[in-house]
């Protein structure tokens, strides 16, 4: 990681320390999510401690939960669900939203009006309520969760991308392309997208955080990932009874959520910038 940091520097990129910290947090959780089955000390469903809400010990690094299961293993496995589902959902919502947003800005007219009003209507539904209704209606499974979260966050991505694209769309270089006879696909792909990609990536990170929190919220209410698997939100909920005892079982999943969301935010606020100096 340090090497890649220096090679970025050599390629003329500037990456500050805060961004690096964010990057380490996010990359760390990504590695955990990928390698979780290999590194967990205990199977996640197995009751291994005779005590419940056990303290931190050499045997159970982060204590045990309300049934005496190992919390470290459950957090490591939970990273798969929290990071995986959120990442998938944010990818879907942003690619759909941004594509529609750019298309609406470039084509304009009735298509723009129609899309904008439709997505505004979708946006006006409270997100948690929408999630509750869908999951309660057709049951909780990972595909349903991903789709629901993606649908909830598409209108925001659309609005954001459209607002940016409308500004770019009035620039002369887009007019030049139009006068050349270019089609809509070329306009959005080649003229608009490269010029909004920075803010769009920042928005993607922010939306990822929102989705993590919403997913955790849904799991907390018991509508997210189903037992014996658990994402971090579900872990907080199961172990909420340990709060009066200050049990590590409720604190560490919360810290995991916080570290991921803060890490993503630090990273997107400090994305590497290309240094462009005229006389170099």
């Amino acid at each position: 990681m340090v090497r890649s940091f220096f090679s970025l520097r050599a390629a003329g990129y500037r990456f500050n320390l805060v961004g690096l910290i964010g990057f380490c947090l996010v990359a760390g959780w990504a590695i955990v999510a990928l390698s979780a089955p290999l590194i967990i000390p205990y199977p996640i469903g197995e009751i291994v401690d005779y005590d419940y809400f056990g303290p931190i010990s050499g045997q159970f690094w982060l204590g045990s939960d309300y049934l005496g299961r190992d919390i470290l293993s459950r957090i490591l496995m939970g990273a798969r669900y929290t990071v995986g589902i959120s990442l998938l959902a944010v990818m879907i919502s942003c690619s759909v939203g941004v594509t529609l947003g750019m298309t609406a800005a470039v084509i304009g007219g009735w298509l723009d009006t129609l899309l904008s009003r439709f997505l505004d209507a979708l946006n006006s539904i409270p997100s948690k309520l929408f999630g509750l209704v869908v999951v309660a209606g057709i049951g909780s499974s990972i595909p349903v969760l991903v789709c629901t979260l993606a649908v909830i966050y598409t209108p925001g991505a659309y609005r954001f991308a459209r607002a940016l694209s409308v500004n770019i769309n009035t620039m002369d270089f887009v007019t030049v392309s139009r006068a050349r006879g270019e089609g809509t696909f070329f306009l959005i792909r080649s003229e608009i997208l490269p010029n909004i990609i920075g803010p769009v990536l920042a928005d993607l990170g922010l939306r990822f955080v929102f989705i993590v929190l919403l997913l955790s919220g849904l799991s907390f209410l018991g509508l997210g990932v189903q037992p014996p698997n658990a994402d971090w939100g579900a872990l907080v909920r199961e172990n909420i009874g340990g709060l009066p005892f200050g049990a590590p079982a409720v604190m560490f999943p919360s810290i995991a959520i916080a570290s991921l969301t803060i890490g993503v935010n630090l990273l997107i606020d400090n994305l590497p910038q290309k240094i462009r100096d005229r006389s170099q």
């Binding site: 620039m171 002369d172 270089f173 007019t175 030049v176 392309s177 139009r178 006068a179 050349r180 006879g181 270019e182 080649s190 003229e191 490269p194 010029n195 990609i197 240094i275 462009r276 100096d277 005229r278 170099q280």
Partner: protein, 553 residues
């Protein structure tokens, strides 16, 4: 002490993106006497505004005054504390910005903003300040001096706003006023009135001034002395007479030469009653913006029944002031804005209303170059990609053929081949405009629509672009439709000229500008262009009837 301002060995440095220190002002020294107007003249990037701002002890963000002294009425603005500088600003030195429209707060009345300085420095009671403001409005020959202060900035014209910003600067009776290109954004017919007002007020109140401009002819009217700058260094200082009549420095001579472009020598033999059809024929075009009315025409008509024709190998100039519809005309021809009425016949074919409905081959032969090179080049693409796209789009070239052709194109517009790997932000204004031109040439067009392509450039750079256009025409047999508000550039390149006013073609000059204007508006417009003669403004007499009818003052 005799001099109001003494600048000694001023050095200002800026820090670049990568943390490199660049010296942008390199040891500048000059004086301004009481009541004297000194002009700073030079290209963009020559440091003229930076020097002017240093008189207020101000350096723009990222810049730092690193050496020397700026003494204003005995105080060194460089070493003064920020609090002490704030006290001096507005009362002893004040500033008239380039764009008055951007400098006024649209949410407050003009009067509130004009007397703001007296309020901040607690100089006089509001009633007295307002009375003084009204006196200044009269001195600046503003209409309805008594009531204009109660209006909002958007309710007055650009020329009036510029004079109001001068009133704002003069309200606290400063010893020095900084004018930063105050007339550059104005039309020539408006500029005259503003210049006259500035000149008479400055003469009457004996205030010293520093006038920043790139336009020698404007400076000649108002300045006592001229400082010629280039690259942060003084090239020459002299009285206005001396600089204009007997320039000592080679760069000053270059500036003067660029001001008067050589006349256009026709490369082709004159077409004697040629039977061939015109390259471009525009018939009775009406176009505009806003919702379509019952008569099928848009609400805001920017073009009203404009017709003209252009033969192959000839150049047409379109002249007019801002808002006359000249850019709209180019947009209609290029298919960016569909016309409400009328026909465009190009190369013997009737053109569809929008670019999307035209055939690729028709689009290829007609290219457009825009005014602002910065916004016309995609900032996230390399120059090679920008030039390569029309090659693959129109000619279907593969990567290798493209590379070779891009090299040729860059060579044609006199840019080094290494430019292809750079991005637009890394090029200078003149280089960007050349890339723009190269992109149009990549299509192998027959006609290039040039929309004010030299307006945003420095005179010397603009003259080089014009020379390039002429050369390309000789080599490739192009035609240009050249849209401009600047008579001298049009004179330099065009065979035929049309004059536009408020969306209508008022005059057709088939043999160019030399025949002299006939229409009253053309006469007014032509007589309003400043000349390099210091006595021009004082000697200029314009028919007041004509001025009232046409100038938007």
């Amino acid at each position: 002490m005799t001099n109001l301002v003494e600048i000694r060995d001023l050095k200002i440095e800026a820090k670049s993106d990568a943390g490199r220190i660049i010296e942008i002002i390199r040891g500048v020294s000059f004086d301004i006497a009481e009541g004297e107007i000194v002009a700073l003249i030079g290209e963009s990037g020559s440091g003229k505004t930076t020097i002017a701002l240093s008189l207020m002890g101000y350096a723009r963000s990222g810049c730092r005054i690193s050496g020397g002294s700026v003494t204003l009425a005995g105080k060194d603005m460089v070493t003064l504390s920020e609090r002490a500088r704030a006290k001096v600003r507005g009362t002893e030195v004040s500033y008239v910005p380039q764009s008055a429209a951007a400098a006024f707060n649209p949410a407050q009345t003009i009067m509130e903003q004009v007397i703001e300085i007296t309020r901040i420095h607690d100089l006089m009671p509001p009633a007295q300040a307002e009375a003084r403001a009204v006196d200044l409005f009269k001195a600046l020959s503003l209409p309805n001096a008594e009531t204009i202060g109660s209006r909002y900035p958007h309710q007055v014209s650009g020329g009036q706003l510029q004079r109001l910003s001068a009133a704002m600067a003069l309200i606290a009776d400063p010893k020095l006023v900084i004018f930063d290109e105050p007339t550059t954004a104005l039309d020539v017919t408006t500029q005259i009135e503003v210049l006259r007002a500035f000149k008479s007020v400055m003469k009457k109140s004996a205030i010293a001034g520093i006038y920043v401009s790139h336009d020698l002819a404007v400076v000649a009217q108002i300045a006592d002395r001229i400082v010629v700058l280039k690259g942060g260094e003084i090239q020459e200082i002299g009285t206005t007479e001396q600089i204009l009549k007997a320039p000592a420095h080679a760069y000053t001579r270059e500036l003067l030469a660029a001001f008067e472009p050589k006349h256009y020598a026709r490369p082709l033999a004159e077409t004697v009653a040629s039977p061939k059809p015109p390259l471009l024929e525009v018939l009775d075009i009406t176009a505009g913006y806003g919702p379509i009315q019952v008569d099928g025409l848009p609400l805001m008509k920017a073009l009203k029944s404009v017709s003209f024709r252009l033969e192959a190998g000839r150049n047409l100039g379109v002249i007019g002031e801002s808002g006359c519809g000249k850019s709209t005309l180019a947009r209609v021809i290029a298919g960016i804005l569909p016309q409400a009425k009328g026909d465009i016949i190009f190369d013997g074919r009737q053109m569809a209303q929008t670019a999307a409905a035209r055939q690729k081959e028709e689009l290829r032969k007609l290219q457009m170059v825009f005014q602002f090179a910065d916004t016309a080049l995609n900032p996230s693409k390399s120059i090679g990609d920008i030039l390569g796209r029309p090659l693959s789009f129109y000619h279907g070239m593969n990567a290798r053929a493209r590379e070779a052709r891009i090299g040729q194109l860059l060579d044609m517009v006199r840019l080094p081949s290494t430019v292809r790997h750079r991005r637009a932000a890394e090029l200078s204004g003149g280089q960007k405009q050349r890339v723009n031109l190269a992109r149009a040439l990549a299509a192998d067009p027959k006609l290039i629509l040039c929309d004010e392509i030299t307006s945003a450039l420095d005179t010397v750079v603009a003259a080089a672009i014009l020379d390039l256009l002429k050369e390309l025409q000789r080599e490739l047999g192009l035609s240009y439709m050249f849209i401009s508000h600047d008579l001298s550039t049009v004179r330099a390149i065009c065979d035929e000229v049309i004059v536009m006013y408020q969306g209508e073609k008022v005059e057709d000059m088939p043999t160019g500008l030399d025949q002299g204007p006939q229409h009253p508006y053309s006469k007014l417009l032509f007589s309003s262009v400043p000349k390099l003669d210091p006595g021009w403004l004082d000697g200029l007499e314009q028919d007041p009837e004509l001025v009232r009818a046409f100038a938007k003052r």
